[in-house]
């Protein structure tokens, strides 16, 4: 059972209160009409699925119902950081580590 700190409630809460919501920081093509099928398909479907630190979204379903970002290690499930929408993690690892 994970303990996840919600950046809005500012408290560590039980994993039961949260739902996973997929990879974070995926930019939507600025002009969908002008993007190719390949670009749009990549935006919709392709994900990094890394082994190690992964930036992902969670939603505090049973709490404040806000989406936020989590930096989680997919190997040992350690949560390295949680941060509000529109922010970047304070202790962001080197790009090569991701």
């Amino acid at each position: 059972m994970l303990r996840i700190r919600c950046p809005y409630c500012q408290e560590a809460r039980s994993e039961e209160e949260f739902s996973h919501a997929g990879e974070a920081h995926i930019p939507r093509p600025a002009n969908p009409d002008a993007s190719s099928d390949a670009q749009w398909g990549e935006y919709l479907h392709l994900r990094r699925n890394p082994r190690g630190p992964h930036r992902e979204m969670w939603v505090h379903t049973a709490g404040c119902r806000r989406y936020f970002n989590v930096l989680r290690d997919t190997v040992n499930y350690e949560i390295l950081a949680t941060y509000a929408m529109g922010e970047r993690p304070a202790d962001e690892p080197e790009e090569g580590a991701l």
Partner: protein, 181 residues
């Protein structure tokens, strides 16, 4: 409000609820809301403030509050808020969706502790705090009114299930359900 030993559970006289959304960083919004409702909106996460009488304002999120008051007051307050709030704010009467019960007594905290993964220990959950969390197999908003008296707000569709849950959870503490002497 404590009944001393054991746990008492009864439906609250609070039955009108408004969901209010707006920018907590905007002092204009907070001032207008406070002047109409008579209470400062709590901006500290997971806290609540009491109105006059039984009513209260609960923090639900960084831009969302639940205003709770006695039956009959909500409709008037909703229209008065609509008259003065910026159109980008939202005020919705959610009275039909919610039920509030009062759980009180020496062992009321223990009933909370076995109903939820949240840490309801009094050192963590003192008077003035409120949390939305998992409660039994449903969800609820729990607020600490006094050291041994709590207000629980849950969805009406879960009311039957959660009242039965509370009755069962409180049984070992000689619970009275408020209907029997």
């Amino acid at each position: 409000m404590s009944d001393g030993v054991g746990v008492a559970c009864r439906e609250s006289r609070v039955g009108a609820f408004l969901n209010l959304r707006g920018d907590a960083a905007d002092p204009g919004f907070r001032n207008v809301a406070a002047s109409v409702t008579g209470v400062e909106l709590p901006v500290e996460p997971c806290t609540w403030r009491r109105h006059a009488g039984h009513a209260a304002a609960y923090w639900l999120g960084p831009d969302e509050w639940l205003l709770a008051m006695q039956n009959g007051v909500g409709v008037d307050l909703e229209s008065r808020l609509r008259d003065v709030l910026d159109p980008r704010c939202s005020v919705v009467d959610v009275s039909g969706a919610h039920v509030q019960v009062e759980l009180s007594g020496e062992d009321a905290g223990k009933v909370l502790q076995k109903s939820s993964p949240y840490d309801f220990d009094p050192r963590n959950f003192g008077v003035g705090r409120c949390v939305q969390t998992v409660f039994a197999k449903a969800t609820a908003l729990v607020a600490a009114r006094e050291a041994d008296a709590f207000d629980i707000v849950f969805r009406r569709s879960y009311a039957d299930y959660l009242l039965r849950w509370l009755e069962d959870a409180a049984a070992e503490y000689n619970a009275s359900d408020g209907r029997s002497p």
